[in-house]
């Protein structure tokens, strides 16, 4: 699904993604874990075509990303961002947010599609008339997921999809994502700073620091406490929670 080789993304001349290579098979999932500023979100944005790569090759489903039209890209992959408040238009209802991709891609029958999409993410049909500020954080994230899935993409890019939510909403969204993935056989890339969140959704994990993949590992190794790189070890300790000194 994804073939990335020596990707470099520069922001203000500084490489924030510095020579990243990996492959993702169709139907597989990859977690990218790192601290703030490690370049993980920039890498995800580059995969989505939201950042331009300064160098390297990026093939999605065998075709170069920069050769695709925005519409082809939209059908192939969709992204869910950390804060749905920032990614949903504050003056548009849920219905309008969901109708837009349908109109752009000329899919037809918007009413039925919107009802189905809302049902799939566990929202009531009447919630289509709500504005983002009338929804809870968890409901807003459900709308963002419904919008991402309404075009039936094969690849989903998730950027900290639950870190703006409280524990209860987080657990619901993680369950929802896990179910959708099973049902649809999606490929996905999940960015997070928390191994415990990643554990719910993927098996294979890349640890990122200073723009590079410093360790490629899997959840089984992490659960057994095996971590090579100091960053991996620090994040692993952090995911076990705070322990009081003395």
């Amino acid at each position: 699904m994804i073939e990335a080789r020596d990707l470099i993304v520069r922001l203000g001349g500084r490489p924030v993604v510095d020579g990243v290579s990996f492959e993702l098979a169709a139907g597989a999932g990859l977690g990218i874990v790192g601290e703030s500023g490690s370049g993980k979100s920039s890498l995800l944005r580059a995969l989505a075509g939201l950042e331009t790569c300064a160098a390297g090759t990026l093939l999605l489903d065998g075709a170069p990303l920069d050769g695709m039209t925005p519409r082809q890209r939209g059908r192939l992959m969709q992204m869910v961002f950390q804060d749905p408040y920032g990614s949903l238009h504050p003056r548009q209802t849920v219905e309008r947010a969901l109708a837009e991709p349908i109109a752009i891609h000329r899919l037809g029958d918007p009413a039925a599609r919107i009802t189905a999409a809302l049902g799939e993410v566990g929202l009531e049909p009447r919630q289509r008339y709500r504005y983002p500020h009338q929804l809870s954080g968890g409901q807003r994230q459900r709308v963002a997921i419904a919008r991402a899935l309404i075009l039936a993409p094969r690849l989903l890019l998730l950027d900290e999809p639950t870190s703006a939510l409280d524990v209860l909403a987080q657990a619901e969204i993680l369950d929802l994502l896990a179910r959708l993935r099973r049902e649809r056989g999606l490929s996905w890339v999940l960015v997070s700073h928390d191994f415990a969140v990643v554990a719910r959704l993927v098996e294979r994990v890349a640890v990122m620091a200073a723009g590079k993949f410093v360790e490629m590992t899997d959840m089984a190794a992490l659960r057994a406490g095996r971590a090579e790189h100091p960053v991996t070890r620090a994040l692993l300790a952090a995911s076990r929670g705070f322990k009081r000194a003395g």
Binding site: S36, G137, A169, A171, A196, L201, L235, R240, F242, A245
Partner: protein
């Protein structure tokens, strides 16, 4: 243990909606965790203790007494003497709490001038000391502006600023939830160290039960504006209350399978 803070029947109303429904508790110089989901009213309680509830909120209480001072009836001047000076507040996101046009060091020095009446040179020296106390020892940090530092550094700068008042009680409202896991641990280690050494009381507001369990002595669990459970942090895992159990079960763990 004599009470540092006593709250009796605190209520916060927005029109017909009662967001905090008669909350009562007392605490000494200990670490008290306030946990609950979004909208449980935990942040409002923190604000009400400083009389900083948002416009439109009607706050009432039979009594809120901090170290012999009745907060419910204190005049504005008295409150100014409490806020930041005797009761410190650290909020979730340092990007919104720090002044974007003053360097980190200068805004900490400003607090020392205001709270301690220090001269400019003395305040600068004190600001450097308190930056060191939160493990921001690199001398360059003093001159950096908030947008030039990471979230974890910004939050530690907020804590350094709070030290200027040398408060007896610190209210930390989700102090680490905008931070990545490693930065969160660093901030918690700094808080842990300061609370221990200065003997402050701490109210830690969080939705993260693991965090509260590891950090606090005692926990109040809030659901829809009311306290549904009070227990020692060590006993949290044994809780039988259904809401507490839900919160405990919701936290993702490394052992979860995809």
């Amino acid at each position: 243990m004599s009470a540092l803070l006593e709250v009796d029947d605190l209520r916060v109303r927005f029109g017909a909606l009662e967001a905090v429904k008669g909350v009562s508790f007392a605490m000494g110089r200990e670490r008290l965790g306030l946990v609950g989901a979004s909208g449980a009213g935990k942040s409002l309680i923190g604000r009400a203790l400083l009389r900083l509830t948002p416009p439109g909120a009607a706050t009432s209480a039979r009594r809120i007494v901090f170290d012999g001072i009745d907060i419910a009836t204190a005049d504005a001047r008295r409150m100014r003497g409490l806020r930041g000076r005797r009761i410190g507040l650290v909020l979730q996101d340092p990007r919104f709490s720090l002044n974007p046009v003053l360097s980190i060091g200068e805004q900490i020095a400003e607090c020392f001038r205001i709270h301690r009446g220090a001269s400019h040179p003395a305040a600068r020296a004190m600001a450097r000391e308190s930056l060191a106390a939160v493990r921001l020892d690199d001398p360059r940090v003093y001159g950096l502006y908030p947008h030039q530092v990471s979230g974890g550094m910004g939050q530690r700068a907020m804590i350094a600023m709070m030290l200027a008042g040398d408060p007896d009680l610190l209210i930390a409202d989700e102090p680490t939830s905008a931070l990545d896991a490693s930065a969160a641990l660093q901030v918690l280690a700094v808080l842990d160290d300061l609370v221990r050494r200065r003997g402050m009381g701490l109210i830690l507001i969080s939705h993260d039960l693991d965090l509260v369990q590891g950090f606090c002595d005692r926990v109040l669990v809030l659901e829809s504006g009311a306290i549904v459970e009070r227990c020692a942090a060590a006993d949290l895992a044994l809780s039988r209350h259904p809401y507490t159990r839900r919160l405990l079960a919701a936290r993702p763990r490394l052992e979860d399978a995809p």
